[in-house]
């Protein structure tokens, strides 16, 4: 019994790490752009497709495919960022929802148009199971947890020490003041968006080996998983998002075990609504951004 619970918690942490990498990008984008990005899962999908393409068509090894997936997504993010995301800075919330939905439709269905709608098999990565402290995991999952930690530490360092990181923090705290002190808000918005999209792509490429199936519409689910996390984590709050992702991962895992897998996808929004009833501003105050 006890072992089962511990094992499920470990399972939760594994899926929580995946959510964390995706959600952290989305929450940063929200912090700077103040827009809920309904297209965020699509960058996850693009990353996966980029890597799949590299492996399937050019027979490249998986580590190279990771780079290609992330870079390809970043390039697309530059285009989307310039054409769309920069322009929704300061627009009302519903404009952001519509614009990002539009982007999601375009990206998703363009991939379906180019590669066909059917699902593909992703055949890279390190899928052999290893046993660690009595728990069996695919090597890839250990990689995901490690990358998750690196991303978290890296982001913390970036927003504390680097120039662009400080600017991101500044913009997320007070957009009017930034214009006054000479921070180019649009520039910061673009870079935050590219970083966020890149992280989503990284998460996609890293999970592809364990998730195997790759298809154009796969991003939607990720978007819906991520939304409650970023709200719970306090919009724009990186640390809060990490904790919320872990909480959701573990809660989902326990619900899948003790209640039923069919309720798993409801956990995110159900937890969110309970949390909001208790603390209307999320678990972690949105004030403590980044």
């Amino acid at each position: 019994m006890f072992y089962t619970i511990i094992e499920q918690v470990v399972n939760g942490i594994v899926s929580g790490s995946v959510y964390a990498i995706v959600a952290v990008g989305m929450t940063m984008i929200f912090g700077v752009l103040r827009a809920i990005n309904f297209a965020h899962g699509e960058y996850y999908m693009l990353g996966t497709f980029g890597a799949w393409f590299a492996i399937e068509y050019f027979d490249l090894p998986y580590p190279v495919a990771i780079v290609i997936g992330v870079v390809a997504t970043a390039v697309i993010a530059v285009v989307v960022g310039n054409i769309v995301m920069q322009r929704i800075v300061g627009a009302p919330a519903e404009a952001g929802v519509l614009a990002t939905l539009g982007v999601a439709l375009i990206l998703q269905n363009t991939v379906i148009l180019v590669f066909g709608g059917s699902y593909k098999f992703f055949s890279g990565g390190y899928i052999e199971p290893v046993t660690l402290f009595g728990f069996t995991l695919a090597e890839q999952r250990i990689l995901i947890i490690i990358v998750g930690l690196i991303v978290f530490i890296g982001l913390e360092l970036m927003v504390t020490y680097s120039r662009i990181g400080k600017a991101m923090r500044a913009v997320s705290q007070n957009i009017e003041c930034c214009a006054v002190v000479g921070i180019d808000v649009r520039h910061v918005a673009l870079w935050t968006f590219i970083l966020g999209a890149g992280l989503a792509a990284l998460s996609g490429v890293l999970t592809a080996p364990v998730n195997v199936s790759v298809y154009g519409g796969m991003g939607e689910l990720i978007t819906f998983k991520t939304l409650p996390i970023i709200i719970m984590g306090g919009l724009g709050n990186v640390r809060g998002t990490f904790v919320a992702a872990m909480i959701l991962g573990i809660a989902e895992s326990l619900v899948a075990t003790y209640v039923g897998l069919q309720f798993r996808d409801t956990v995110g929004f159900a937890t969110l609504m309970l949390v909001l009833m208790w603390r209307p501003h999320g678990l972690f105050s949105a004030q403590a951004r980044f």
Binding site: A93, E94, L105, Q108, Q262, F263, F269, M273
Partner: protein, 336 residues
């Protein structure tokens, strides 16, 4: 939250009426007459498209009251649409009640469910509120899937009967596209009238005040929270009524009715037509359905084109396409 300037507010419209000869009344009457005779020259498929547009018009009217007039962005319309569809279908399938009973019950049940949901949700601000309303859709779907004894789960409720009316010994069933078209047309017209009356009432003015500046509205004594709750409920009732029509028209209700798709569709209709205007929403629903159907010409490019349409809408027509109609009027008046 809503900084878009909606230039066609009630007052502006009122003064326009005062300032010059109004072409919109004859034009509106002409359009209504056209709608009445449409089945004479339209085939089943265009009629079907109009029926869908008119069904979607109901939840869109509801969302317009909420977003366009009160300034609250909600994605919950799909949840209430689904509740209305299920309520209506369950009544029809289990009890064989006549259409008007199902239809009204769907509205009442949806409103009754919206009230307790709105109380906690409306305490939330902006993004949290949006996500909470999206949560209603997701959780609604989970309930529809798992409360099998009531909803039959994923198997859905099939063979929902065509709308029938019973008055004493006489009964009458609406079948066929043309019959349904007239039924939906009448209901949509009544719904539009209802929205018009709400918007023109003193309450409508208070709603606009809340949209413009909530704190200021509070400071002049408007109980904003109560208004938001009432409007949330009204918008849910509209969605529920739309769901009822949907159930009787498509004859199938499944958990798929609880989909973000419907919420975003309503949002696109309202913003595409012009939030905060009634004619805009009517125009928006026809435009939306016309566009998605027209794009069937190229199935594989359809959703991509639709995505670009959304971007164009956001960036080039932030007030929707309704201001274009306004420009059309002033163009006509200049010609005279």
């Amino acid at each position: 939250m809503t900084e878009i300037v909606r230039d066609q507010t009630v007052t502006a419209a009122e003064h326009k009426v005062a300032t010059g000869p109004d072409l919109r009344v004859p034009f509106g009457l002409g359009l209504a007459a056209l709608a009445c005779v449409a089945p004479l020259f339209l085939g089943n498929y265009p009629l079907h498209a109009i029926i869908i547009a008119l069904i979607f018009l109901l939840p869109a009217h509801g969302l317009n009251l909420l977003l366009g007039y009160t300034g609250l962005l909600s994605l919950a319309q799909a949840a209430f649409f689904g509740i209305g569809a299920y309520a209506s279908a369950l009544l029809a399938v289990h009890f064989g009640t006549p259409f008007y009973v199902n239809f009204l019950a769907a509205g009442l049940i949806t409103g009754a469910i919206a009230l307790p949901l709105g109380i906690p949700a409306l305490r939330l601000r902006s993004t949290s509120f949006v996500m909470c309303t999206l949560g209603f859709v997701i959780i609604g779907q989970a309930i529809a899937k798992n409360w099998i004894s009531l909803t039959r789960g994923d198997m859905g409720l099939a063979a929902v009967p065509r709308p029938y009316f019973a008055l004493g010994p006489a009964s009458f069933t609406v079948s066929g596209t043309v019959g349904f078209y007239y039924l939906v047309l009448v209901i949509a017209a009544l719904a539009t009238l209802a929205v018009y009356l709400i918007v023109r009432s003193p309450a409508g003015r208070n709603m606009i005040a809340i949209r413009e500046n909530e704190t200021l509205a509070e400071s002049v004594g408007i109980p904003t929270w109560h208004y938001k709750l009432v409007v949330f409920m009204i918008s849910a009732i509209f969605a529920g009524l739309g769901g009822s029509l949907y159930a009787h028209y498509l004859t199938v209700v499944s958990p798929l009715t609880f989909q973000m798709y419907y919420s975003t569709t309503m949002l696109i209709i309202v913003l595409g037509g012009g939030a905060g205007t009634i004619s805009g929403v009517i125009f928006g629903s026809l435009l939306f359905v016309g566009l998605t159907e027209a794009l069937r010409v190229a199935p594989e490019l359809r959703m991509i084109a639709y995505g670009f349409f959304l971007l164009a809408l956001v960036f080039y027509f932030p007030n929707g396409f309704a201001p274009l109609i306004g420009r059309f009027w002033s163009f006509l008046e200049r010609r005279k």
